[in-house]
């Protein structure tokens, strides 16, 4: 494996991990709102969350470019406030991947949250647990399968994300060129096929690895139930 390929692999993993990692909490929050609250515009929120799935990725990419580019309103705001910049950086690739993965993470979590027995949460609160504690000790562990499923789908999607990423942060080797983008570049000419196949192989390995790890984790969790003792 060439050094460049290792670099691409590591970058992809970093981008996908960051995308999934940073999406999980907001996704859980949105899923919780959708599963548990009744409010005006709930269906609309669900629709908005689903949007990145429905639109061609290029559109989402352009949207991100307009909002989070170095000239975009949000991009400028974040730059000013936190010195955080997404434009044409790996962070931007992670943002794009995160946005695209978001609906895939939200749905399974919502599904799991809806399936959590409210009676158990009631029992927890009669035992004196405050809402955040009930959440951490009962709701969250019981929704874990959904969280896992969401994380796996999200991570896989983040690995494979292409359209929004290339549109938002371009295809800059070493900075934003993830596996998907590199494969795309190689596929532009027949000569690149061999190299592309190697990268595809890497992608597949990464995906299989992630799935195996997730299945293993899921099995451990379902066996143990987790040691959630505070």
């Amino acid at each position: 494996m060439a050094e460049a390929e290792i670099g691409i692999l590591l970058l992809s993993a970093k981008v996908a991990l960051a995308a999934t990692g940073f999406s999980l909490i907001p996704a859980f929050a949105v899923a919780w709102l959708l599963a548990r609250r009744r409010f005006f515009g709930k269906a609309l929120l669900q629709a908005v969350v689903t949007l990145p799935l429905v639109l061609p990725p290029v559109v989402t990419g352009y949207g991100l470019l307009v909002l989070f580019g170095s000239r975009g309103p949000l991009g400028r705001l974040l730059e000013d406030l936190f010195g955080m910049s997404f434009a044409f950086r790996w962070t931007g690739a992670a943002l794009a991947a995160g946005v695209m993965a978001f609906p895939l993470i939200v749905r399974p979590i919502r599904l799991s949250l809806e399936a959590v027995d409210r009676g158990l949460e009631e029992a927890a609160s009669t035992l004196g647990a405050a809402s955040p504690v009930v959440f951490l000790t009962v709701t969250l562990p019981l929704a874990l399968p959904g969280l896992m499923a969401g994380a796996v789908l999200g991570f896989a999607k983040a690995l494979g994300e292409f359209g929004a990423t290339i549109t938002f942060v371009s295809n800059i080797p070493g900075e934003t060129q993830t596996l998907s983008l590199a494969i795309y570049a190689l596929l532009q000419t027949p000569e690149g096929d061999a190299a592309a196949l190697r990268l595809i192989g890497l992608s597949v390995l990464l995906a299989v690895g992630a799935v195996l790890v997730s299945e293993w984790v899921a099995r451990r969790l379902s066996k143990g139930g987790g040691d959630d003792r505070a």
Binding site: A124, L127, T137, D228
Partner: protein, 360 residues
Amino acid sequence: MTVLDVDISGRRGSFTVRAQFRAEPGVTALFGRSGAGKSTILKMMAGTARPDSGRIAAGSRVLFDSEARIDLPARKRGIGFVFQEDRLFPHLTVRHNLTYGRWAGGRRARRPLEEIVALLGLEAHVDRYPDTLSGGERQRVAIGRALLSEPEILLMDEPLSSLDRERRAEILPYLEAVAAEAHIPIIYVSHETDEVARLADRVVAIDEGRVRAIGTAAEILGDAGEDGGPVAILEGRVTGHDETYGTAIVALGGGTIELSERGLPAGARLRLRIRASDVALATTPHEGLSIRNQLPCVVQAVALEGPFARVMLSFGSERIISRITAKSADALALQPGKPVTALIKAVSVEPARLRPVVGE
């Protein structure tokens, strides 16, 4: 000393509840048929269901008041709730289920875990997950979880329904002790008149969501002994013992009764439970009988009930009920005012509940 004051009305679907009662420290039983609304009332007291209006107060603490717009969340009500369906946390071991009130609920530990585990016979199961427990084991964990949360009010919804008699006999005295020591109100739902008669200081009869009657176990269950027959409940005080035979002498309204029960402290107040079908009558005192308690009574009333006669007797200030066949009643020519001897076997008298000498 917390007195629980409940006065609520509310709905669950098409079912309406309207309940008003007081629960002093000690055991208050909610008694009523399946679907009468017992669980619904408990849930409203616990704060997991919301009454439409009314007020629930524990001493000076207002748990719910629709007018003052007070509605304490369940966790602040200081309750321990044994749900009818056990509601164990499937992702936690038995141990962590039991101690949940401590590590998650911030309830302070008073009773040691080991004591409850031993009481409930769960030693072998503390590190298992609930899904493989037997029905009775699950129920025991649920009881333990509520007890260990150090509640100020204990709500128990048929807590012993799937336990065998031996196990009940082990747990019941503990519950009695909890009620006596901790001086907290226990609201207890049960279909077992035995259990209710033994435990309850007060019985609230629920019917179609309303309170049909409130009274002592004697008053409410008087008509429903464990085989459906009437029961008399007398209050007495231990005055002495026969050490040789391990019997206790209990002074009642107008005389004494001998009780085959060891270890009753002298001076202890007792409630005696006498099934009407355990009371035989004689027109004269008899010798050569194994029946040692022969109480001189006066017939108050005789009511025929099919093949039976229910005979109300006064024994000093107390009331005793006897149930005999109509044929015997005729044979003995019973009628109001007639003095008779009530024969009660010492083994038939059940100390329904022992009260501490102090108190009251």
